[in-house]
């Protein structure tokens, strides 16, 4: 039986992973397999881990403000490695004006502060593994 596999990763230098862990737990409790990478990941590490773990979705969380550099780079690397079918989503502190730019760069969804866990779970159930 296929299970939805999700990589939750923290690119960049901030050390706040409470949000990432809450999301990881919620997805686990929704029956998914969640691979958590820990803090301070480079986009290269994240893309490689996503490929080796054969995940359906990569969830990125960054609270340092470096999302405009780090997030699109993950999408780019996945495409370069022939894994452009893996969805990339984004959470953390992302100003509204950055959301369309991230979408344009290939981020499938952004989940800012206040997003309900239900919404995140439903997004994964609906879009993962297609």
């Amino acid at each position: 039986m296929k299970k939805i596999r999700v990589l939750i990763a923290k690119p960049g230098l901030d050390g706040h992973d409470r949000g990432a862990k809450v999301v990881a737990r919620a997805l686990r409790d929704a029956g998914m397999e969640v691979i958590y990478t820990g803090l301070h990941q480079t986009p290269e590490m994240i893309a490689e881990a996503a490929i080796q773990e054969d995940v359906d979705v990569v969830g990125l969380s960054c609270l340092s403000g470096a999302h405009m550099t780090l997030f699109p780079r993950v999408v780019e690397l996945l495409r370069e490695k022939g894994a452009g079918d893996i969805l990339v989503t984004a959470g953390g502190i992302i100003p509204d004006e950055d959301v369309p730019k991230l979408k344009e760069a290939g981020i499938a969804a952004t989940f800012g502060p206040g997003t309900s866990l239900k919404e995140i779970i439903e997004f994964h159930r609906k879009n993962a593994g297609k």
Binding site: M1, K2, K3, A24, R25, L27, R28, D29, A30, G31, M32, E33, V34, I35, Y36, T37, G38, H40, Q41, T42, E44, M45, I46, E48, A49, I51, Q52, E53, D54, K81, G82, A83
Partner: protein, 309 residues
Amino acid sequence: MELVDRLLKGDKRAAAKLISLVENEDKEASAVLRELYQHTGKTHIVGITGPSGVGKSSLVFGLTKVIRERGKKVGIVAIDPTSRFTGGAILGDRIRMTELSTDEGVFMRSMGTRGHHGGIARATTEAAMVLDAMGMDVVFVETVGAGQSQSMIWECVHTSVLVEMPGMGDEIQALKAGILEIGDIFVVNKGDREGADQLVKELESVAEYKAMEQEWKPPVHVTIATDGQGIEDVVNSIENHLEYLKESGEYQKREEERAKGEFTRTVQDLLLKKAFDGEGSKKKFDELLREVMEKKTDPYSAAEKLLED
């Protein structure tokens, strides 16, 4: 099959996809395994087991770094428990090994147990087979945090490394059967903690007992995995053990045991599938189940009847 061809050339995406196929028991899985089988048998498969929190992942990370320095390629299969209730899992072994993600000569995969017992996942051996065919020189299989009876790892590896740490009440544990019986190499990790000397002595006495029954006496190593102390010695012992296996003829025996285990498990799986998923068998199962529930028959006769034809 295209994925297998790509795997044999070292393509990591292909390896990952193939592991998913066998893990999901996809309908293509048995065809894949049939094709892969002929390309396997070259890898040294090493099991890393021990209780939760003793530092198995950190040790695997340290061992992998040393083996990479020696110019060999390493595959890692790390297993974490799947929730019995939701079917979900947090697979966190990568946290200790992030540095390895970008190393060309390393492939690491996390797996949930998905309801399988014994400390490993059902598809653990198959995942190791994929990494074997890919050309990895050493494959580590890291079990879930294992208690006394999770010794099934023994069936799928050539060398078992049992990791313990001081202060876990092992004086009595050392006398018990199960997990201690399977160690070819003992590691006392977090060796700077109080009680390490005592634990080493206890494990050495277990090793003495083992040496009375077999030629190989399990070495006992003290490590601090997080800063690399003692790791070289463990790698040396892993290499020595492989040499011992080959020279003593024990390697052939373990290969035979592994083949027997794989064959037995596959037969069990096929029988289960036949009982539950086969044509008409679901109906037959439900009918018999009703009879059992209504006490018209007993579970034992019903089970025999189910598998009759």
